[in-house]
């Protein structure tokens, strides 16, 4: 029905961030819907199928086409279902995506690292004096709140700052929390993004783990994991398990007076809405509230923001399938950020942060890219800012 509903108006084409970098009909939703319809009716020839597959995977599943679609076709879910159906029919994902998915299935993290290393960021941070107290493991202490760091903030040395700062901010606010550490699973949402048929089973296993462990509230700092646990697990994880994004929780803590940004952060910044947080989960207000609460910080919106925020290209496995397109997409976003005259672009997603950094490199931009926790840390406890954390972690590694 969705294929028949397309009015071929071209609105998706006018807004698609991937089409903006590679203007071929097969890249935009209109083209993909047309091809899907033909697959069902008359079939595609070899060349047409190749082009369709290219379009299907040259997509960050950002959901912009769904937002602007006048007839509200659920496009991003349709692409995920199409990917899954093709895989089931023996037409696999691009090679780099397969490697990534294999790592998740086999190692329970997308970095193909031993799970025993997953919670090491917390130990290192505590030893380096970056935390107020050690972060306890869930198996030792079942706190009212579970902090879910996700694969990137747990394993990527460049992004462990996010996990450390998130934990420190929760401590500053007096939140009683623990982490799963080596027992923390990959959220498996990437399986769904890239059409892996094993997603439902993987999600059920994770949901069972949370329920078995008696977890009632999960705070997630990764936008992708949040989309996974909050949205993709709908109908799998009972609503009794509350899943909140870190920005929602921090905003609440600030409003309730448990966390007070006091120090001046005299900066002009612009805010990048991650697709998984904004368009997919409607979290637009909370991160902005946090930025507004920081003294001295001024926020300037980009031309495209909120539901119309331009994707940096890091979602949906696009970076793996077509890194050159991701680079162009993030460069386009950086140029929009530069138009505002801001000195930094702030985002609450470490994946977007990495993606945007690709853009600053590609455009040789002087614009700084920060995670939102960095801004808040500078106002609450600057001794745990990025520079301090990186220095401490480097010393720990070398020492």
């Amino acid at each position: 029905m969705e294929m028949e509903a397309c009015a071929r108006c071209g609105e998706c084409l006018a807004w698609c961030p991937a089409y903006a970098q590679d203007p071929r009909e097969s890249i935009c939703s209109r083209g993909k819907l047309g091809s899907l319809k033909r697959i069902v009716t008359s079939g595609l020839n070899g060349e047409e199928m190749k082009e369709f597959l290219e379009g299907l995977y040259e997509c960050s599943a950002c959901g912009q086409c769904h937002i602007v679609c006048p007839v509200r076709i659920n496009t991003h879910e349709l692409w995920e279902r199409a990917r899954e159906s093709l895989v089931k029919a023996g037409i696999p994902q691009p090679e780099e995506q397969i490697k990534h998915l294999t790592a998740i299935r086999e190692c329970n993290n997308s970095f193909a690292k031993p799970q025993t290393e997953r919670g090491l960021w917390a130990e290192t941070a505590w030893r380096a004096g970056l935390l107020k107290e050690p972060v306890r493991l869930w198996k030792e202490y079942q706190a009212p709140v579970l902090y879910f760091a996700g694969c990137t903030a747990s394993f990527d040395p460049a992004m462990q700052t996010v996990a450390v700062q998130s934990a420190r901010l929760l401590q500053e606010a007096g939140v009683d929390f623990s982490i799963l550490g080596p027992d923390e699973p990959c959220c498996a949402s990437k399986l769904r993004r890239m059409g892996d048929p094993g997603f439902a089973d993987a999600a059920q296993q994770r949901a069972d783990l949370f329920l078995r462990s008696g977890i009632g509230r999960i705070i997630v700092s990764c936008a992708g994991c949040f989309k996974g646990l909050h949205s993709d697990y709908a109908g799998i994880l009972p609503a009794s398990v509350e899943v909140l994004h870190l920005t929602e929780y921090l905003d609440r803590l600030i409003r309730e007076g448990n966390l007070t940004p006091t120090r001046n952060v005299p900066m002009k910044v612009t805010y990048h809405d991650p697709c998984h947080l904004g368009r997919h989960n409607q979290i637009y207000r909370e991160p902005r509230n946090i930025l507004h609460a920081i003294p001295g910080l001024s926020l300037i919106e980009m031309r495209r923001h909120g539901p119309f925020s331009l994707c940096c290209g890091m979602g949906g496995g696009l970076k793996l399938a077509k890194p050159e397109i991701q680079k162009k997409m993030s460069a386009a976003r950086i140029r929009q950020a530069e138009e505002t005259g801001a000195e930094a672009i702030v985002t609450p997603c470490q994946t977007c942060q990495m993606g945007l950094m690709t853009g600053t490199e590609a455009t040789s931009s002087g614009l700084k890219v920060y995670h939102i926790t960095e801004m808040l840390i500078r106002s609450v406890c600057p001794e745990a800012d990025r520079a301090h954390i990186e220095k401490a972690f480097t010393e720990t590694e070398t020492g």
């Binding site: 029905m1 509903a5 007839v71």
Partner: protein
Amino acid sequence: MGLVLSVGFYTCFLFFVAGYLVRMVTWAQQAPPRVLPGKTLTLPVFLNALVDILLLRRLLRANDVLWLGEWTFHASLVILFLRHLRYILEPSPPFVYAMDIPARVAAWLLPASLIYIGAMKLVIEKKPYISSYNFMLLGLMMVSCVSGLVMKYSLPADIVDIKHFTMGLVTFHMGISPESITFLFHFVIFLVLLVSLPTHMFAAPLTMIEARQREDDLPYLLHEK
């Protein structure tokens, strides 16, 4: 000529109806929308979706310049459709008479909105913004509008002959076709449009209802508010 037009009409109409019957069956067999078990469409959700459909609310949000043209086009089309019911209903219901003045306005607004939409897409946006299929539809609609206006204001056809002919079609009493060339042209364009009508006319309202239902059933999913 009457026989040819009548056969043409029945063929096109059968093609149109059969096409949609097949689609309806296919849609019904498809997997249901992603909703929680036990949830059904409620009146508030339906009314919300109805407003989406009637106002093209999503397009208004994404592209207000184009919305003006598209809404005018669709509203004019509905008015003219209702007014044209007088050719196949006897006696014509009061709402058809009430459409007289609105239809006179819509008859001009429809081609104007088509020109506006075409200009917006071709001039303001990039060339591939408009699909070749929509180009064809816009062209057919424009020809239909112009022939209708010519019939109304320049080369009037005998309305009694037309009604006699069209009533004959719907009552299966094939009669003589009106002699007006403009009418013949207008009618043939209508038949071409009938078989090439975009499928979104029927599927789009359903996806719009489904979207609202998804929002209501999975409020914590908050996909697309």
